[in-house]
């Protein structure tokens, strides 16, 4: 039994709901127990840090302080001083606060002074902050995961997408490489999936640029989707709700922007684990993605029940002609 303290993060209840649901489905087959931090708050994402330093770190540290109350060092396994965050941005913020409060003790003193106003305190280094895939690959182990597979994903071509905030900056040196880590590949291979070479695995999805500078974000999303498509991936697997949101929810707008027609579904790696462990698609939140994975999953014989697609407001095609990015094929023909 592996026990951990869980920091779910805001997106687990909203945009990344499928992530939360599928995580719950893989706990029992892998004999994992999560103890959620009581009354946790938002980690501030990448926004609070750019406004005020001490409040931003105090916001993060409240979670660490609450988590440290829930740890149980007498357990013997040492597992309960580990906080697991499934979201890469939450993971990085928690890990960063813990690390910087040690690297610069004056920050730790000030943050603790702020925490005191709420009757809390946190000694940096008390907890071990780790990402979900880190504990799955390094604690539970790829072999145990392979043993739990009852429906191998044979024939499903998956692009393993790690994103940026997980393997970098990597304060505790947990990954095989900062730019081409292989942990996600190993895990997906254990599920029986056909893992493609995906050199862009740790390139950025655009982060919050979809909200503040869409052109920059679309360019980044395009690179990822285009490369996965050219390499013949049926779908992408991600470890982060923000990556999932950007590539899934903004793919349509990105296609519109460039005049392309990509259809690249992106699922959480835990959804694929759930499927391989024999769970039904609905149990692991499949069907909530906006770029449907139905056709991709047909390759492994998983039938996703057809849900009534909401009738999206139709847009009339009578605007002014807009410049359109050529497809590869058109480009080649033009050169001829």
């Amino acid at each position: 039994m592996n026990k951990y303290i869980l920091y779910p993060g805001c997106s687990m209840e909203s945009s990344g709901k499928a992530y939360g649901e599928s995580i719950n489905m893989i706990l029992e087959p892998l004999d994992i127990q999560f103890d959620e931090i009581d009354d946790w708050n938002c980690c501030g994402a990448t926004e609070y840090l750019g406004i005020n330093l001490i409040p931003a770190y105090s916001l993060i540290a409240r979670n660490l302080a609450l988590a440290s109350k829930q740890m149980n060092p007498d357990d013997g396994t040492g597992g309960t001083r580990t906080v697991v965050a499934p979201c890469s941005a939450c993971y990085l913020n928690l890990a960063k606060a813990d690390y910087y409060m040690q690297e610069r003790p004056s920050l730790g003193v000030k943050v603790n002074e702020a925490l005191e106003a709420g009757g809390l305190s946190y000694i940096p280094g008390t907890l071990d902050v780790r990402h979900l895939i880190d504990v799955l690959v390094h604690d539970v182990g790829v072999d145990a995961i392979r043993n739990a597979v009852v429906r191998p994903l044979t024939g499903l071509r998956v692009a393993p997408y790690m994103g940026c905030m997980l393997p970098r900056p990597d304060y505790q040196h947990r990954w095989t490489d900062h730019e081409h880590p292989t942990e996600l590949d190993d895990l997906l291979r254990a599920l029986g999936a056909d893992v493609i070479d995906y050199p862009l695995t740790t390139e950025c999805c655009g982060g919050h640029m979809t909200q503040i500078g869409p052109e920059t974000a679309f360019e980044l999303i395009m690179r990822l989707v285009e490369d996965a498509d050219e390499r013949g991936a049926h779908l992408m697997a991600t470890v982060c709700p923000m990556c999932q949101m950007n590539i899934d929810a903004y793919q349509n707008e990105m296609n519109h922007f460039f005049g392309t027609h990509y259809h690249m579904p992106i699922l959480f790696f835990t959804q694929l684990m759930g499927l391989a462990f024999g769970k039904k698609p609905g149990e692991v939140g499949i069907g909530t993605e906006l770029v449907s994975a139905r056709n991709a999953l047909a390759h492994i014989g998983v039938e996703v029940p057809v849900t009534q697609e909401p009738a999206a407001p139709k847009k009339k095609n009578e605007g002014l002609p807009m410049p359109r990015r050529w497809t590869k094929q058109e480009g080649k023909e033009a050169v001829k």
Binding site: P55, G118, E253
Partner: protein, 198 residues
């Protein structure tokens, strides 16, 4: 490319080397920034996925910091385009905490009101407002407030997406609030006082 402004000429020609700006930024950055150690190799700019949209590459920005060009640095769009991907951070031979320096520069630009495009600062502030009210992020409130203010023309194109997010249960219309909001408010109030005195 930035112009050779008076400030820039003054900074170069008539002043003794003044590192106060560099030190100020370094001191305001979480952790030990290593900013003083930059050797101007340019690995950061070469690794940056949004460098092409930046007015100054990170390397150039750090040179400007060293030259004391406060206004130009704080007006630069560079920190606002940083996507926090940490490519530059792991590649930097001097281990400069580049992404964290960018956060510091954003916060300094907000305090000095020296940003040229308000989209990003407003987004950050709206996000923080949600947290300070509910203790959790509230995507629906954030998105609707932000898009109405900055991208009203983008809204029609985004309707299908927003519609899909809501009908698929991925975006709640009612915010969630933490139990001990009073505790979080007390912590943040104290933290804001400490921020002013530090």
């Amino acid at each position: 490319m930035p112009q050779m402004t008076d400030e820039r000429v003054r900074a170069r020609l008539t002043r003794e080397e003044d590192l106060s700006l560099l030190h100020e930024v370094s001191m305001k950055t979480a952790g030990v920034s290593h900013l003083e150690m930059c050797i101007q190799c340019g690995t950061c700019g070469g690794s940056c996925p949004s460098a092409m949209d930046m007015e100054h590459t990170p390397r150039m920005l750090f040179a400007m910091l060293r030259a004391g060009m406060r206004d130009e640095v704080l007006r630069s769009n560079t920190p606002w385009l940083c996507v926090s991907c940490y490519h530059c951070v792991v590649r930097c031979p001097q281990e400069v905490h580049i992404a964290d320096v960018m956060y510091t520069l954003k916060s300094m630009a907000i305090h000095a009101k020296l940003y040229s495009d308000s989209t990003a600062p407003h987004f950050s502030q709206t996000f923080v407002d949600m947290i300070e009210t509910f203790g959790r992020s509230f995507e629906f409130g954030l998105a609707s407030r932000h898009y109405l203010r900055h991208f009203p023309l983008r809204l029609p194109g985004m309707l299908p997406m927003g519609f899909g997010m809501i009908t698929k249960g991925r975006m709640a219309i009612i915010p969630k609030k933490i139990k001990h909001m009073d505790q979080l408010t007390a912590i943040l109030e104290r933290a804001n006082q400490l921020e002013l005195t530090s």
